[in-house]
């Protein structure tokens, strides 16, 4: 069973005024992600990237179509099961981190899932090792730098071993060193990943495959190298050639 399978997915936000039609965001989205595969999700602002991620983890309900995570359909009655299989990293790390210390936040999911004290400690250590934040366990969240917050927010979902990791704009507001560190961390993770980002260079460094969303549809899906080199395709999707290609 694949970590993620999406079939003919449609989604629209309800109309804000009477008489208005619902605002269609996604139309006929179908794709799948295999074991340990890393897929980039690119598109202009409002293309539906974040909405798609929220649909996958059940924060929104599709109008039509289906989403399967590890073979289980995402429905209200399967949400608890689905959420054990996937981890969602928010765009804003401050939304992800809500307890007082790094340790408490990373331990939040294992404790909720009934891990024993020893298992929780082990899971916290493992997750912090994976994101290279060992030694910061007892540091208050508000004392972390932006880069550390982002890594800590990834650790919060790695503490339970997920098959699928969803990352929403992970490289946003990171300096070059933290960005490089994040790329290394993401590449070292063995689970399947779906990364939504505007940062095409980041996608190039982390995802061998890419999906280009444009006006709620999949405009193109394939090898990242091919998509990110296609200027006309990117421009049609409201994007531009990544810096690493435009300089070449």
């Amino acid at each position: 069973m694949k970590p993620l399978e999406i079939d003919n997915l449609h989604f629209a936000y309800p109309a804000t005024r009477r008489g208005e039609a619902p605002h269609a965001v996604l139309t006929g989205i179908s794709f799948s992600i295999g074991e340990s595969e890393s897929v980039g999700l690119v598109g202009a602002n409002g293309a539906g990237k974040s909405t798609l991620l929220k649909l996958i983890c059940g924060l929104l309900e599709p109008v039509k179509g289906s989403i399967h995570v590890s073979g289980t359909e995402v429905r209200k009655d399967t949400l608890a099961q689905i959420r054990r299989e996937l981890g969602y990293v928010f765009q804003d790390a401050d939304n992800q981190l809500f307890t007082s210390t790094v340790r408490d936040d990373v331990a939040f999911a294992p404790r909720n899932y009934g891990y024993s004290r020893e298992e929780t400690e082990e899971a916290v250590d493992r997750a912090l090792r994976a994101v290279r934040l060992e030694g910061l366990e007892d540091r208050p969240i508000y004392r972390l730098s932006g880069g550390e917050k982002k890594l800590a927010s990834i650790a919060t979902v790695l503490s339970v071993q997920n098959r699928l990791l969803l990352l929403d704009e992970p490289s946003i507001a990171l300096d070059p060193r933290n960005r490089r560190n994040l790329i290394d961390v993401i590449n070292s993770l063995s689970c399947a990943k779906l990364i939504a980002s505007h940062d095409l260079d980041f996608i190039y460094d982390t995802c061998p495959k890419t999906i280009l969303l444009s006006e709620g549809r999949i405009a193109c899906m394939g090898e990242t190298r091919d998509i990110l080199r296609d200027r006309s395709l990117l421009e049609a999707g409201g994007l531009e050639l990544p810096l690493s290609f435009s300089r070449a």
Binding site: G87, Y88, N95, F98, S100, A109, R111, N112, P140
Partner: protein, 254 residues
Amino acid sequence: MDRIDRAVSDFHSMEEEARGKGWLQDLNPLTKLFCTVFYLVILLSFHKYDLSGVLLMGAYPVLLFTLGRIPVRPMWRRMALILIPICLVGIANPFFDRTPVSAGTPAITGGMVSMVTLLLKGLFAVSAAYLLMVTTTMEDLCRALRKLHVPAVLVTVIMLVHRYLIVFLQAADKLTDAYRLRAPGRKGIHFRQWGSLAGMLLLRSVDRADAVYQSMTLRGFHGEFPSGREKPFTRTDLAFISITVIASIIIRYL
């Protein structure tokens, strides 16, 4: 640093102090919660003219501040919003209660004594609550409440209010900063802007609180905060409870 900045910073400092090292911080949260509640009950039970008894009850906060090496000065600022009304509560007593309680000139009236008693009761009660807050994290406090079989819903609400208060303050801080940068030289926020800013603040904090809640549910939260590492109940806890209870009863009844 403006007021909101300071409030957020105070919040964080208090949390950090509560996580610090010290014998008071290391006590079991249940011990501290029990002793604080017991102390407050005994303190509030003193008669309004029993000034000497109330004065003796001041030993509890004074000793804890001293032995626990907890700075007193930040308390005045952090608790000012509560302390000021407390000081005002008994201010009218001397006008209504003119019964003389001692001979001499000027005569000391019952109203004067009850005013001072009320003031001290308030001050000591706030000090005891403050001591609990700066030596116990909210997580530990909520865990202690759960052990006392306080309903999970109530404990979760307390926990979330504590979290969302910071979210709310941060949202307010960003909004007022943005306002101030575009209204240089203006003191405070113009009353015409209050409505739109309050609405914006509400929307932003609800939005942010919603995202935090989503993050929690995605990590298996189902209505009750999981218990983390617990502090053991030691001999120090037993000694602390015994001394607090026995001393309070002696002061109250002997």
